[in-house]
Assembly symmetry: none
Homo-oligomer: 212 residues x 4
DNA sequence: CATGAATGAGAGTTCATTCAT
DNA sequence: TATGAATGAACTCTCATTCAT
């Protein structure tokens, strides 16, 4: 065969790990860690089962990579934008509640978060990792903004951390609802409408000197 | 060995199922369905592995029994008390938010709810069951009360179902927080304080004609 | 309760072993030794599982009892009648081939024989027992009659044991056919017709000086 | 250990199924279906237990493969040779009875046939399969030849199917005898001698116008 | 690098046997 | 005697992991 045949479409090798993690995210979030089959992950990634072990030493390490993949890029940017926000706290809510709704509707954070909840007891390092890298900083960030707003007389007195929870909880609930009950026939929540209504309640209930 | 040890066989047909379900709840909620070992459930229940099969045909059926065990008694009573509540909606919140906090802190509903979230995709019948038997009726109940309060001019305009979600979401978050992140070092939420602060915000943000 | 109620029908206890063996015969011959469940034997015998162990030490011993139960009464009587038969060998065949057909159609020997064939390798003692107590004596008996008939010039020359096999084999085949293939739709053999036709062939083929 | 032992892994996808079926035939025919252990089949086949499942989905499917393995090649050839036989029916018997004796002495059909008898009730599909694919066609073939011979005036009047049974039964008996009673000490039948003597009897008893 | 046949420990399940009642 | 709940060893089957190719 001196004549080279048409070049076989050799997919870029550099992104194999990414493709595997992506496939694994799908399987893990559908089945949970234990019920996920490496066979199926390999199949969805378009590689052989053995190839998984060229990039990840064990199933657990692959799971770690999946869980960690959800975190890296987002937080820093969000922090920057939130802390740089110019206006008052009410204005910040007006901008960011719809943004959160947007993120929730599209990002892969949701299924991974559900996995962290479901598998946390089996993989405490991952729960710790998520807590330390994503959840606690996020809560801390929002709490800090609230505390500053309280100092400026914009937000009523109260524990900023609890306020942060009150602000974020409905979105958590909407995500879990979508992942858990919508597939079995529950009516989904309209997160944009939820964001709007939540904004109204928070402005009247949280801020000082606003008109409902 | 003149002192006979505890007898090897114990016949307690009446109590076994409850003990097994209780032990299974512990193991399933710690490990998830797939990673839970029948060996360990049997050990915690103080029976042999074979004895499990005298009461439950398969591991899955035992899991169903566990999930369903959380539901039966509570809902009817709650509904009755809520619908019979005499005063205005604000008073109802004052009474019931601390009650919810109480229930959350003590009941076994929390770990089972976490299991439903984590295993819902693998056991859609259970997700459906929980949705239909517990979650949807609960949301519907609260939504109905809100709609009535709106008709009486007590609650601001808005989608009652979203309001219901806003009311209940922080407690869901507190539960999942406790189950997921507290074991790895997160600071727990004080649900009683959360109830109190949530009440304040809701009264100001939800009700009409209240003073913040 | 001083007034004795109506006497409960207490089945004669003396025959429990017999009832158990009878039930066991049914189950063993339907399922084979390994697939037979003591639960089902007990149920068919109308006793509890534990009661089996009051009469038989193990499943295997019960199986032995079943296999041996088929033998005891029959052979001696058959031997006596065959050896006392007054007429020539041809007349003997005329009388006994239909008798064999009759026995085959009704007796429990057939399913037990099938079990001995099927389980012989697992229970060599039983195969030996059947061989020594039933099959070999039967063959020996018939061979002896043939040898005597040969000495009298009634039967052609040849190995009497092979002749015996030739005489009995079609009935064995009919039994196994009924047990194995008839249940899945095969047309059964009419053993009476088989006996008649076999008699015709044997008289022409085996005897000397007969007219076909 | 400078001398490396045989490698732990052997990749021989082509040969495995045949080797496994062959090993399984041995174990199944010795123990019966239920008492056969996959461990032992794997050991005899020289593979791991898990490897069995690469080729057969369940133990039952492996059993089916074993039972079916006995059938495929033989029947068509036999039919062709029998139907093409040029001479009279007596000549055909002269040729084929020794051939049957030969086949019985060597082929694996014998132990499989015993399995079909022993397990037929538990696996009716297999009994049906054997009946339809092997036994019924065989009987039908022989019956047809007999009917033709009767039409030519070579064979006496009578039911051809019963004649076929009479012809074949002694060989069935010899096979079962060898499988069941010879291992526990019974004197085997000399199948070649049986074929010869059976031929003599059949020529005298079945054919018309032959001299004994 | 890549494959996938092969491994083997470990899971859920069954059932002959035991024993408190 | 008689019961049947309870036991536990042993089975079939699964699947993460390995390695000859």
């Amino acid at each position: 065969m001196l004549q080279p045949g048409p070049p076989k479409f050799q997919r870029r090798k550099e992104d194999r790990p990414g493709e595997i993690v992506s496939a694994a995210l799908g399987v893990f979030s559908e089945k949970g860690f234990a019920a996920a089959r490496l066979d199926e992950i390999a199949r969805r990634a378009g590689v052989s089962k053995g190839a998984l072990y060229l990039y990840f030493e064990t199933k657990e390490e692959l799971f770690h990579a999946v869980v960690k993949s959800a975190i890296s890029p987002n937080l820093a940017m969000v922090r920057e934008r939130l802390e740089a926000f110019p206006g008052p706290f009410g204005g910040l809510l007006e901008v960011f509640l719809p943004t959160i709704a947007q993120v929730i509707a599209t990002s892969a954070v949701a299924p991974i978060g559900k996995m962290v909840i479901g598998e946390g007891r089996n993989f405490p390092e991952l729960a710790r990792y998520w807590h330390e890298e994503l959840v606690a900083p996020m809560i801390g960030l929002v709490s800090g903004l609230i505390a500053k707003a309280q100092a400026r007389g914009e937000v009523r007195a109260g524990d900023p951390r609890l306020f942060a929870a009150q602000i974020m909880a409905p979105f958590l609930m909407a995500v879990l609802w979508r992942e858990t009950f919508v597939p079995v026939g529950a009516e989904p929540f309209d997160v944009q409408a939820l964001a709007a209504q939540h904004l109204t309640v928070l402005k009247a209930g949280l801020l000082i000197g606003e008109k409902a």
